[in-house]
């Protein structure tokens, strides 16, 4: 499994699927909500990312529904996907902790 940092859209898609399966439009909404409105995931970007995530085995199809004559496919996070997201969260947490500590040192006038 690659340990390279996840790109933001990938991270947000995996996060959107972490709690429950979602369909494409739901993922778009969730990503916007998670990012505080800063990231708008358009369909082209979303499906290019889902295509890759499926190949990597991090995301899988959960079920399909037809709503108002339109196909809705729900995606879920797989176990390897969840593990990769957890690893990324841990990596970001370590970086955040280090940044926080150094800023605190700076504010209290200590030496690095």
């Amino acid at each position: 499994m690659s340990n390279a940092p996840l790109r933001e859209p990938t991270f947000l898609i995996l996060t959107a699927l972490a709690a429950r399966p979602q369909h494409g439009y739901g993922i778009q909404h969730d990503v916007e909500e998670i990012s505080g409105g800063q990231v708008t995931l358009r369909a082209g970007t979303l499906y290019a990312a889902l295509d890759r995530l499926r190949v990597d085995g991090w995301v899988d199809v959960d079920r399909e529904e037809v709503v108002d004559g339109r196909l809705r496919r729900y995606y879920r996070l797989t176990e390897p996907g969840a593990a990769r997201l957890a690893a990324e969260v841990e990596r970001l947490r370590a970086h955040t902790r280090a940044a926080h500590n150094r800023l605190r040192t700076r504010l209290t006038g200590g030496t690095a």
């Binding site: 494409g24 358009r42 082209g44 970007t45």
Partner: protein
């Protein structure tokens, strides 16, 4: 169907076929859900869809979508030796345009000096094509490496030693290495035959033969004829369609063979760089190597298709 849906369908139609079949209707649903009251797709959305389509095409092209490359190599092992013979047209043309006096009237008995220096290498490649057709993979592989070595030895055989030949024929050399590697390490022409099929192979062979004849019989020097150039482009187009249209694997196989041959021609004809310079030679080979590696893709484990478990 509204105008908006029609516009979206046109954009989704630009995606790779397998992606359209799996996600086309689903994408349309997402796009229409998000469109609200728009009458036409927005500029950003259009650019995003175009960029997404380009990414997926590129991903499939460089085999980054996890599909096995062994079948691509098998396709190259079958079609490659035949496609290599396209390069022989130049030598045949040279042979034809050489006067009979030149060939027969030498007083010192050195008739071979008037023959194109690369002719022996092309004869080896002809044998390789026949061996591949009979699915004798190992023997064909040995022949292919010999043929490639023959290319490299042309500057030594030439009565006027020059490395210009290697620069001008960089595509043939690189394609030779690709084909030799395919014959050596792939499942071979037998698997290629299963993938391509007899009818398509026959069509491909016919187009290659027609192209060789067209080049060889062209008036004057073959590369000076505009008519020949147009004809060859058309023939290569048909060859790509015949050899590669059956699947994404075939498309990759033909692209793998075609790019090394096409790129040096484009470089030399359009940029009009002096081919004698070592910089160009390094550039040609470097670029070709990168392209070939990109098309083939680096070796990687084949991941299980998550869809298969669903």
């Amino acid at each position: 169907m509204t105008g908006l849906e029609t516009s979206y369908r046109r954009l989704v139609a630009l995606y790779p076929r397998d992606h359209r079949e799996r996600h086309g209707e689903e994408m349309l649903g997402v796009l229409l859900d998000g469109a609200q009251r728009h009458a036409r797709p927005g500029l950003r959305e259009t650019v995003d869809l175009l960029f997404g389509a380009a990414r997926l095409h590129l991903r499939r092209l460089v085999t980054a979508d996890g599909k096995p490359t062994r079948d691509v190599w098998a396709g190259v092992a079958l079609l490659g030796p035949l496609a290599m013979l396209l390069g022989a047209a130049g030598a045949l043309n040279e042979l034809r345009t050489s006067s009979l006096t030149s060939l027969l009237g030498t007083v010192d008995g050195m008739r071979w000096q008037w023959l194109p220096p690369d002719l022996p290498a092309w004869m080896v490649w002809f044998v390789v094509a026949v061996l591949a057709l009979f699915r004798l993979r190992r023997t064909a592989a040995v022949g292919a490496w010999l043929g490639t070595a023959g290319f490299l030895s042309v500057p030594l055989i030439d009565p006027e030693p020059s490395f210009r030949w290697l620069v001008l024929h960089a595509g043939s050399v690189v394609a030779g290495i690709v084909v030799a590697a395919a014959l050596t390490w792939s499942p071979g022409p037998a698997r290629g035959w299963e993938l391509v099929g007899g009818k398509r192979f026959t069509l491909f062979a016919g187009v290659v033969a027609a192209a060789v004849v067209l080049f060889a019989m062209a008036p004057g020097r073959y590369h000076d004829s505009v008519l020949t150039s147009i004809g060859s482009v058309l023939l290569v187009g048909v060859a790509v369609a015949a050899g590669g249209a059956w699947s994404r694997i075939g498309y990759r196989a033909v692209l793998m063979l075609g790019l090394p041959v096409v790129l040096p021609v484009v470089l030399l004809w359009t940029l009009r760089i002096d081919p004698k310079t070592a910089v160009l030679a390094a550039g040609c080979y470097g670029l070709l190597s990168v392209v070939v590696l990109a098309v083939i893709g680096t070796p990687r484990a084949v991941r299980p298709d998550p869809g298969a478990r669903a």
